[in-house]
Amino acid sequence: MKLPPFAYRAPESLEEGLELLAAGEGEARILAGGQSLIPMLALRLARPSLLIELRRVPGLAGVHEDGSGLRIGALTTELVAERDPRVRAASPLLFEALEFVGHPAIRSRGTVGGSLCHADPAAELPAAALVLGAELTARSLARGTRTIPARDFFLGPYTTALEFDEVVTEVRVPAPPSSQGSCYLEVSRRPGDFAMVGVAAAVVRGGDRVLDLRLALSGVGDRPRLLTRDELELEGQDSPEVLFGQAGRSVAARIRPPEDLHASAAYRRHLSRVLTERALRTAFERAALQGGAASA
């Protein structure tokens, strides 16, 4: 369908954008890449009266790296992030998740900040952000700047901790420990479709043992949740292989996956168990390779 009527502004400064957003009193929306918002307008799932596009605001796109990790401007497109060698080197999990986001013609416009703020329960970047311990920088006129950990950001389907007058300006991704390996896996009907189930996994390895693990799943609930060893109630002393099997069963027992045209709840539960095990095993194997490379 054609888009419903709305007003449009493309301010030159963030302050002007924040003023417009605040004045909109919840009826205004930020337009980032538009790859989710425009379809929602076309399908009449969103009816904002004003779209504020920040493409003229300098400094909101770009990748920066320092010793502590990556800083990714909220308007950095998924394609630019995916192709940035610093992202691949400093955050292999984010790189792997980005490759699963839509199709190239979506990633060329879609933005890292936009995807996180859209908070689709089946999207890849929210799950990756949780496992990576990412932090979002939010700006508003009323509250100034605040930092929101990914863990506190995703509240429900398409619902985040952002207030109506806040804009995410940057995503910080801390550098992972050198003994950590990671893996993002998903199964979808076609490449680029939303996942029936996606799993972001990170494992910290010490020799042949698992020192720590973190997981987040997409497509199996109202929002991605960070699952740690404690939350999964895993026994500490087992071999990695036994531990990964336990983790898969624990995940499958904890989720309440949706049922739709693409997959039954039972199939999603099955996929969750299998992909969890597989992602953890792969992350564990990669941790050894990275440790070897680091000590060489």
Binding site: L3, S49, R109
Partner: protein, 171 residues
Amino acid sequence: MPESELGARGPLPIRLEVNGEERGGDVEARTTLADFLRDQLGLTGTHLGCEHGVCGACTVLLDSLPTRSCLVLAASADGCRVETVEGLARDGQLSRLQRAMWDSHSFQCGFCTPGFLIQATALLAENPTPTEAEVRHALSGNLCRCTGYESIVRGVLAACAGPERSGAESK
């Protein structure tokens, strides 16, 4: 919220480069790039299938990157460079890809063809010798309801084969 203070529904003046020419016009805020190209510039080669970013028929190159023109506001494309399917042929000569897809019968009804041509043009610009798997992956965001995709993939592969293997003789 008074419209005059917060923003305008239109008309908004835009200027952009389309297929190498400076073009411009006044658009409503809600006008997509696809509708601007088709309705205001008469470039109806860009086809609209689903109008919500699923089918890929409306794919154009926006600042050299394949982009769904139904998911971009015309106002957002102000100042950008756009290439549509009309820009692929030069001086009446089909591009190598167009010729190869023609020779390979890479279309039946033709509705999806402009999107496939643009997406494959972008692929070959980055990767002149893709494998079949890479072609299939690159085109996975474009829907075709007629061909079953085999002839499309064959056409793209023919475009990157050597001259002696391209075209009709290769079949």
